[in-house]
Structure formats: C-alpha cells, structure tokens
Symmetry: C2
Subunit: 240 residues, 2 copies
Amino acid sequence: MGGHNVLLVLANPEPASFCHALAEAAAGALRTDGHDVTISDLFAQGFNPVAGRHDFLTVADPERFHYQSEQAKAARENAFSSEITAEQAKVAAADILVFVFPLWWGSPPAILKGWLERVLAYGFAYVDGCRFDTGLLRGRRAMIGVTTGGTVERFSPQGVYGPIEGVLYPVRRLALEYMGYDVEEPFVAYAAPRVSDEERRQMLDEFAGRAVELAHRDIDRYEPPCHPLDLVPRNAWKRS
Amino acid sequence: MGGHNVLLVLANPEPASFCHALAEAAAGALRTDGHDVTISDLFAQGFNPVAGRHDFLTVADPERFHYQSEQAKAARENAFSSEITAEQAKVAAADILVFVFPLWWGSPPAILKGWLERVLAYGFAYVDGCRFDTGLLRGRRAMIGVTTGGTVERFSPQGVYGPIEGVLYPVRRLALEYMGYDVEEPFVAYAAPRVSDEERRQMLDEFAGRAVELAHRDIDRYEPPCHPLDLVPRNAWKRS
C-alpha cells in the first residue's frame, strides 16, 4: 500500500498556538510514515470566509443571489474563483481530511465555517440525492482535532457544556458525514492552555499517533462515473 | 410597561431571501407593538467575520496573539475597533436578541459565527466565573429563527439530521445561554424554499407573533456593579 494524501485544515490565528503544534506534530509523523501532507493554514492564507459573488467567474442569476444555484453553475463550468479552485483541488486529492481548530463559542472559528461554505460547494462536494452513505466523498476518512478552554469535567454528561459529541455534532454529522466522510472519534485537547508542558507533549504524541493510525487504514474512494450534477435525479427539487 | 429594545442579527446574502422576509415581518410587528428594533444585516454591512488585530486599537502582546487577552485589554480601555464598538453598543442596548439565518452545514453562516467571536468579546459579554446563571447578559432574552433546506422529517428523531435542538445546541447552549440569555424555543422554517406561498405567509405571521409574544414578557436585566473584568475572581486562571 502506498502512502495516503492528507489535507490538514488549520484555523488558529496564532502561529505559536497549540493548534499549530498539533497540526505540525501530525504532519511530521504522517510524512515520516510515507504520506503526502498538505496544510491549509486559513488565517495565514488570509482566507475570506464570506460567501458571495466573488466565489464565481460565472453568474447564474444577476437579479437574485441563490448561493447553491451559483455554485451549481460554477461547478458545471469550472468557474470557481482561484481561491476556491485551489482549496477544492486539495480536497479532491485528499484521502483523509483533518480539521484542527480551537472551540470558539462551541464551534469552529468562522474562518473554518466559511471554508466549508465556500469550498465544499454544491456540485463539487454534494448534490441532491447524494448524502451520507451515498455522499460524493464516501470512502474517504476525516478526523477533528480540537482544543478547548474548558476542562473535561465541563464536557461531561453532568457538565455545563455537555459531552463533546453533542457539541461537535453539527460539523461531524451535517457537514463531514453528510458529504460521505467516514469520521473518526474526535481528538480533544481539553483545557489545552492550562495543562502542564508534559501533558501537552503527551497530547501532541497522541494526536500524531491517531493521525498515523488513521492513515494506515484502507481507503476506498468513491469515484463518480460522471459529473456530480449528472447524478441528480431528474425529479429532484428544482432550486429557484 | 414601556417597549423593549430588540436587536435582530440577520445573516443571509440575498435581500429577497426568506430570512430577510422573516426579519422584516418580526421588525414590523414589534414596531407596531411599540418596541424599538435595530437590524444588523451582516452581509449588507459587509461585516468581516475574521478575528484579528484589526479588532483592537490596543496591543496586549505584540509577540503572541492571544485573542481573549487582546479582548480583555480592549474591554478595559474601550479600545475595540469602530466596527466592533458599534455592534457592541447594539448588544448592550438590547433587551432581546434575535438571530435570523439559514442553516448552512448545520450551523449559522460564517459571517454570523464571526460576529459572535468578534463582538461578544471577553470582558464585554463574558468573563471568567460569570456564565450561564451568572452570565453578564442574564435577564435578557434571545430567540433563534432559522430556515432550512431540509424537511421536518429529516430533522425528526429518526431523520438523517436528527432533531433541530441537537443541531442548534452549540449556538444555543455554548453561546447564548453561556452569556446568560434566556433562550426561547427556536423558530424553524423547515424546507422554506419548497413550501407554498400560503405556507410561507403563515410562517411569517407565526414568527412575527412569536417575536411580539416574547417582547411582552418582563425583562429584568442584570447590571454589573463594576467593570465586568473586576468581577473576575483573583484566583482565576491567568491567561497567557
């Protein structure tokens, strides 16, 4: 088995952050293990998370901006902006997608949320009738690595935030699994800013180990037999 | 009882969207009922959702960007950027906060997520030791109005997305309730793009009615006796 292609999408504004250390630990271990790793460091790239007409070289409807309709036209005509095209190429190439981010207000930073919205466009990462078990990206694997300010107790069933599974549910279920990714249990660095250096080293080792273990598994990527938009059933709801 | 001050934060890029119609229906009914309504139309305002040094006129640490530390310094010195100061003034004035947005990938659009991150800053909307029942914004009320592409069946306990309560959990529990808001059951316009005009009119009426009903309730805002940062216990974790 050859190495896998791994895309790490990183969303923390500070290069010296523990998120960056996690991403670098995983990337180093994966490369040593023979895998190909790309990092999208969204803050460093100055990624713009706001959806808009600037996403597209084409215009489906100049009067009314319906995001999915514009995405569909651009997907059909290879007319996404260069910023989006570059990120889509990374996603298309990746057998494994890893998100690394701090939990802000219970979810990924806006810059990563906007990456989902703009890059994982209709007609590229999903279409009507292809979701979950029939998702376009099925057969690929994904993992979330997250740092929290709160302690593990706060994320316990009795804790004020509740279990991390509930907190990460939208991004896991309605985004990653929706597209077909097989999603690992999340890696959570609880209270990362407050633990000892030794505990942080252990976290880095554990995350790197999880990433390498994941990359050792088989990947059986689904390859659509045609343009994804040609998979849409004829009787699918017509978007206005 | 006088009227209340209501802030509607709206996150949809298309002025002719159903989200805009919902916000306008609620705003109209509230004004007719004697309340003061402000709308923050984030796409129209060109709101930048990316956290960064541009948030601040001050610098706490020029070497390492720790967002909460920078927010704390700016909160202490009234040194948020004008964009953030303007939004914070609306939040401070509002007895009732209403979010209106389309569900994208299971959560609010990035532009609204970034509004949470940048506007509801440490030292302004929350501090260590003041959360949930002791949150700085306790006594105020909040409501989420959301439009979905998916049908109500998809959001049923047996549906592929699961109940909307689980989907909205992070923004409700880890953001609004965290700050102390008393949060209403969400208003959900399921499959909004696919329903009939008559059903849409009913939805608009129902949402406007919910907003007015909410504004009829008593509001008993907590007023901190000092600067919020002076409420932080001396033994609170020192952020690096």
